[in-house]
């Protein structure tokens, strides 16, 4: 089953959110408008809005309220990508030139700031003060994760725990918070919105680990960027950490530096792809998914819960 089919009952609301995303980003200022539209057109899975809406279904679901949270969280995600592309000096994302590549770093820094500010404007429409506290905390953690990612680049002497903490901050937390805020904005009781947070956290961890595996196993066409890009940029992901335990791969990985070229690492990328590092990583991803399934069983039975289950299952099997 395709991902989108799983939540086709949300289509009307998701179309509304897509429209709101466009309207929010339609800045008067021409440069910001062009940069924003360019970002939107690059697409994306809009998985955060989907989680917001599904979590809202556990409470007093009102699309006119919850849409602000859904749009805000997608914008926060987009804003962080724009700044990440400055940091990573990335030319392409999702098969399209990045803002920093199409314009320059300066425009990208301010476009990221602007999109974040717009998202806060939407969040200010959410009355539950708890929602603001949760969001602010997750933004702080997100930024710590980003700084740590810079610090840990080309550092081959790090362990699985460092990696897991980093992807929690960089990815899982915002997905966890998407689930939680959709619930908080729909007045879902704390006992339930905390479980939705945990579900989002587990799924977010599995999602990022899968992403990091796909960087080795997917094709350039599927990724929209060359395979092995993470490794080339010195991002030490879970497959790399496992590969480092193999003496032959270890010595090859340790030779990677900022001057390493794409061509040079291709044999290594293929070797990692064929090594047991991929299986070990998949195993850890699956363990997070198991935890996600388990916490779901503690939630009230409804269509949203079934859909969350199907999405988690999909994430474990996705090929790109």
């Amino acid at each position: 089953m395709k991902l989108k089919m799983m939540y086709s009952f949300l289509n009307t609301d998701l179309n509304l959110i897509e429209k709101e995303l466009e309207e929010t980003i339609q800045a008067e200022q021409p440069l910001l408008r062009q940069a924003g539209l360019h970002l939107l057109q690059a697409g994306g899975k809009r998985i955060r809005p989907v989680f917001v809406l599904l979590a809202g279904k556990f409470g007093d679901y009102n699309i006119d309220k919850i849409k602000h949270v859904a749009v805000a969280l997608e914008l926060i995600h987009m804003a962080s990508l724009v700044h990440d592309d400055v940091i990573d000096d990335a030319g392409m994302r999702r098969g399209k030139p990045t803002i920093k590549a199409k314009w320059d770093n300066k425009i990208a820094v301010y476009t990221g700031d602007y999109i974040l500010a717009r998202s806060l404007e939407l969040m200010a429409k959410v009355e539950q003060i708890e929602a603001h506290k949760i969001l602010a905390y997750s933004l702080v953690e997100l930024n710590i994760g980003e700084i740590e990612q810079i610090r840990d680049k080309y550092n081959f002497d790090q362990n699985v725990r460092t990696y897991l903490r980093r992807i929690k901050r960089k990815t899982a937390l915002l997905i966890a918070v998407s689930c939680q805020l959709g619930a908080v904005a729909s007045d879902v009781p704390a006992s339930i919105h905390r479980k939705l947070y945990l579900f989002g956290y587990y799924v977010g961890m599995a999602f990022q680990i899968t992403d990091d595996i796909l960087d080795f196993t997917a094709t350039e066409e599927q990724l929209g960027k060359p395979a092995g890009s993470d490794l080339l940029q010195g991002n030490i992901t879970l497959p790399v950490l496992f590969a480092l335990q193999d003496p032959v791969l270890n010595s090859q990985i340790n030779k990677i530096s900022e001057s390493t070229t794409y061509e040079e690492i291709q044999p290594l990328v293929r070797a990692i792809k064929q090594s047991s590092a991929i299986d070990y990583s998949t195993d850890i991803s699956n363990r997070y998914l198991e935890k996600a399934y388990k916490i779901l069983k503690e939630l009230p039975q409804n269509r949203a819960r079934n859909t969350l289950y199907n999405i988690a299952k999909f994430i474990g099997k996705r090929k790109f």
Copy 2:
């Protein structure tokens, strides 16, 4: 009278705010902690916290509540400076190396993001939802102002209106909002907090125009950076706009480009300093100050009002 003497009755509370600023910025993450402390030690007038506290005096003043607003607004100001220094490629600020100079652009982008996130965490302690709306709106405007500043660089064909709109967004709005949020967080009625907003706006405009004048009239020692830095970076400020009306100065200004050196513009900087462009600019600054005095008279008479008056007067006369 020295600026600090005017509000010595706030000293206990301002010391508390300085301590909270330090604590907030004391990140666990070593890089962020060092960058944050470096920023704090560079000093600054902390004028935004002063306005927050003074505005709070018009209502139910509670330092334990209002301190969050004061610290948050100073942090937002600092975060925007960190990103500005990336954009301006600035090596020095207040006589100290900038974050981007001491570390690099990447660290500066994320440090700015991190400090903003910390400020939102503090703001989330403010219960009045109106405060969040006001702040989010001003962040959006601030970022539009920043993008416009890039767009308008080295564009000598702009008018006074463009300039005024830009400094409103870049500077005046955050000062206006400092006054307003101090009041909103102290449950000051709307009829009064809107006037405090206007006061802050007028004073903020005069403050920035004075800053732009001082870029020509102050010494390098007073400025912490070479005189004429704005012009050298292609920022067209009010004195420059008036100088452009002089045919001789006009042709010299129009020769400035990104490749112009500091030495090359010194004769021009001196010529603008001695021209009537400075008087015309001072005149506009004074007109804003007059409006600030006028709106103050509509506010309840108290010590805070007197202090706001003295600060406005000081801004009109400050030499650095």
